[in-house]
Subunit: 161 residues, 2 copies
């Protein structure tokens, strides 16, 4: 029988075991640039793509919204590199991660924020809400098998409650 | 006396001498992912950050809009790495580049598209129009002096005409 997966707010502290939250937070290192007309929030995610002859790739994802309640029945991980997603504009999406496939997953609700999965972190593909959403994706290109996928013994049902 | 700098539409072919246009273009390599619910437009920019012990850094820029007509009096370049900017949502901004500081610059109007300056390409800091705009920036972190700046002998005035 499936269990209910409750959605938490996405915060840097809560997400820290899994990766980075990418947002223009006053707590981040920032400085004025371009003759004072812009602010740079610097180096917000640990991009880890260079191992085993990898390189950083920049891609766009166009993702369709999913219906709630949503059945979480699988997870994947990228053993060779980090993977970041940043929505291009207003967006709500759920980020599901787990310490390992047998552990209870956690779900975070991102609102305009981006996220960066650390190398090897088990996660569900993005669960986009509301509307078709474009994301910039920053991950690894290179040789080697960089995607493991697993079906969960215990299914979870994600909902906003 | 300043000269008029006319603004061209931003297209991959027009911008090719200077770098990449980042957009979900049907001409790009793309494939279905996430059980058919998303499309990945793959590897849209040549991220060139690894030289001389560099690494990829992910930052956010929050840029104030500039008034038109806009005086273009300087250029900069990053000799050690590429630099990409992708607006987070609807945005219009002008991208000014030049083959060298003595050559006539070219100006492109980006509308929601992102751009990636190739390593060493002379450019003006982004000229944002309309409203405060957030950009994701993908460039190089690491040791070494990675910004050259030059004042132009000939000033240019950019306007939408």
């Amino acid at each position: 029988m499936s269990k209910l997966l409750r959605v938490e707010a996405l915060t840097p502290a809560g997400f820290a075991p899994f990766g980075d939250v990418i947002e223009a937070d006053a707590a981040a290192t920032h400085c004025a640039v371009n003759a004072g007309t812009a602010t740079r929030y610097h180096d917000l995610a640990r991009i880890d793509t260079a191992g085993e002859s990898g390189r950083t790739a920049l891609s766009l994802f166009r993702a369709a919204p999913r219906d709630l309640p949503f059945r979480v029945a699988m997870l994947e991980r990228h053993p060779l590199g980090s993977q970041a997603f940043v929505p291009l504009g207003e967006a709500r999406y759920a980020v599901v991660v787990a310490a390992d496939p047998a552990a209870p997953p956690r779900a975070f609700l991102a609102q305009r924020q981006g996220i960066n999965y650390r190398r090897g972190v088990w996660h569900h593909p993005l669960i986009v809400l509301d509307r078709i959403t474009d994301f910039l994706c920053i991950d690894r290109a290179g040789t080697g098998e960089n995607c493991d996928e697993v079906s969960l013994a215990q299914e979870w049902v994600l909902d906003l409650t």
